[in-house]
Symmetry: C2
Subunit: 354 residues, 2 copies
């Protein structure tokens, strides 16, 4: 059919979470932040909203953002690569490191997009099951052209410990280990400082979760400057627009607002975990802004029943689960941490359903 590559024709394509327009819906399915972005974000966008900034091309490398983020994070601005959302960065990394027929790997169950990126690139994909307690298997070791380790992981919300990260990075070297820290802002710790020790480590971050900016598409990667300069060749010249750059720069410097939102989300997460456990779910202790909940009955009808009641959670259904799980598909509900009022409604409806 019209010359489309066979690997593209054969693939199903990644299906993003449902984005329904009904404002009455409580949306707990794509881990958006229930709180508004920092007021400084709105100020920054208003300031950037001039005829001249709209009609001219933006900074290709986002130097203003890089300088601000470098200062906040304590890293060299030249080690930062801007992206049109974290997905743009995962795409750039795939194109930079993986030849057609090459190998990509990630643990599983995890972010489904990794496999889609391999399919688009015409690469093979190896999904390595997590252990039952969401750690890496001791024998994971086959080097791949590109290995993704989401930390915290989705759907589990769990963290792999630094010693494990270092071990895996050494196994896959000199190929890179990408530590996907989209949810790291909600965790007890992140591993930015590992970058200094491990030369093949690349970290990616998102503004869609902790900074309440999923709508403006912004993320960044941190890697050695000599890696960043190769990735720059692969990215589109102007991959981030002038308003997103302004918004992201304002958001990352407003630490006080960020910490306030984080505190609220962590408090709600703790309460959700207790209440959902009481309702009979097996809830994995989470370091992210969502909870992985497995009911002691079929999960999908609960998802459907909630949707009918205008609460959207994510029904996840993986071909294989962590090691030691019963054979067959592995499913459950991934529920984003909402506002307290939203979670009250969720718990109420779940109480009536179960």
């Amino acid at each position: 059919m019209n010359g489309v590559r066979p690997n593209i024709l054969a693939m199903a394509g990644y299906t993003p979470g449902e984005q329904l327009n009904d404002p009455a819906i409580i949306k707990l399915n794509t881990n958006e932040n229930p709180y508004p972005p920092s007021p400084r974000v709105f100020e920054a966008i208003q300031t950037a909203l001039t005829s001249n900034s709209l009609r001219k091309y933006p900074q290709p490398l986002g130097d203003t953002f890089r300088k601000a983020a470098g200062k906040v994070l304590g890293v060299d601005p030249d080690s930062i690569l801007i992206g049109n959302g974290s997905d743009d960065l995962l795409t750039i990394l795939t194109r930079a490191f993986v030849p057609e027929g090459g190998l990509m790997a990630s643990p599983t169950p995890s972010y489904i997009l990794y496999r889609s990126l391999a399919e688009i690139q015409g690469a093979r994909f190896e999904a390595v099951p997590f252990t039952q307690d969401w750690n890496l298997p001791a024998d994971w070791g086959r080097p791949a052209n590109l290995t993704f380790l989401p930390n915290p992981n989705s759907p589990s919300g769990t963290l792999v410990l630094p010693a494990e990260i270092i071990r895996l990075a050494n196994v896959v070297a000199p190929s890179p280990l990408v530590l996907d820290e989209a949810y790291a802002d909600f965790a007890d710790w992140n591993r930015l400082e590992l970058l200094a020790e491990i030369s093949n480590l690349i970290i990616t971050r998102s503004f869609s979760k902790a900074y309440s900016l999923a709508g403006i598409r912004f993320g960044f990667a941190i890697a050695r400057p000599e890696i960043v300069s190769e990735l720059v060749k692969v990215k589109d010249s102007y991959n981030c627009d002038v308003l997103s750059l302004a918004a992201a720069t304002a958001a990352i410097v407003d630490r006080e607002y960020f910490l306030g939102v984080r505190t609220k989300i962590l408090a709600t997460r703790a309460r959700m975990a207790v209440e959902l456990t009481k309702l009979g779910f097996a809830v994995t202790p989470s370091q992210a802004n969502f909870l992985w909940c497995r009911p002691n009955r079929p999960a999908k009808p609960i998802y459907e029943e909630l949707k009918q009641r205008k609460i959207l959670v994510r029904y996840m259904n993986y071909p294989i689960g962590p090691t030691g799980m019963p054979e067959g598909r592995y499913d459950g509900l991934r529920i984003s941490v909402g506002t307290d009022a939203e979670i009250d409604r969720l718990l109420e409806e779940l109480g009536s359903i179960l």
Copy 2:
């Protein structure tokens, strides 16, 4: 070095036009529009600028834009693919159609990015020289996995006639011919209606030029819906952000404003062509918002002298020129159409330099 693909290591990387921050500079180097975007764009961004729209993911396919654009252009909304700038679309097309080791082609001298996209993909690239009057050579015919035909072309600003487009499309079928219409809004005609006749034709459009929105990164492609649904698998799920989508939708429906800006630019272009010819440049008749000017002396010192006087034009230097040009490199100045005041300054400085 750290597992980067050899094709990436070997390439130089596309160099975008200089984006200098000095507001005193007259910027005629990247074909930005000298006039502001439609006032409706600002209204639309203000309306879209709410906490909810920033914190939630945008429409993955941009349905609101597709519906509006489909109506304006008289095409099926399902035949429209949104892109984070026209470059995003060229990238998506490359990944969808070109395997590693495949072949890409375009006429030359033309948009330099096409070759960079081939290099990133690990594909071969064939640059076919234009004839001396900027037409396609009669014997161009080798099928490639993907063929780009910019129309109008850059740097020449010239159009290839519909009969030639149809001929080339037939030669490369079933692989696609991409008609890159980034500058078509400034031409006497475009060839949207060819889409109905030619099943392997794909058209790309940009909002960076005619709509004065280079800063927000938006473009779209038009192709058969069955092609679009394959391209959707390749694009990032949320490749366009909520503010860009709002801006682009407002811009495309404001036909009156668009036509007003177009009229002004075409008038200035006509005057520039006359005056630059008087100054001794060989000026190619342009259907775009820039002029290709070849002086009867070395071009680069003129570019440098203008830059020193705070006027930025684009010095272009190609390894080969159109057929029949003297051997060796082929260079000249590509000058964007500015406001009348900017062009007065340009002509004055050129008069003093030459």
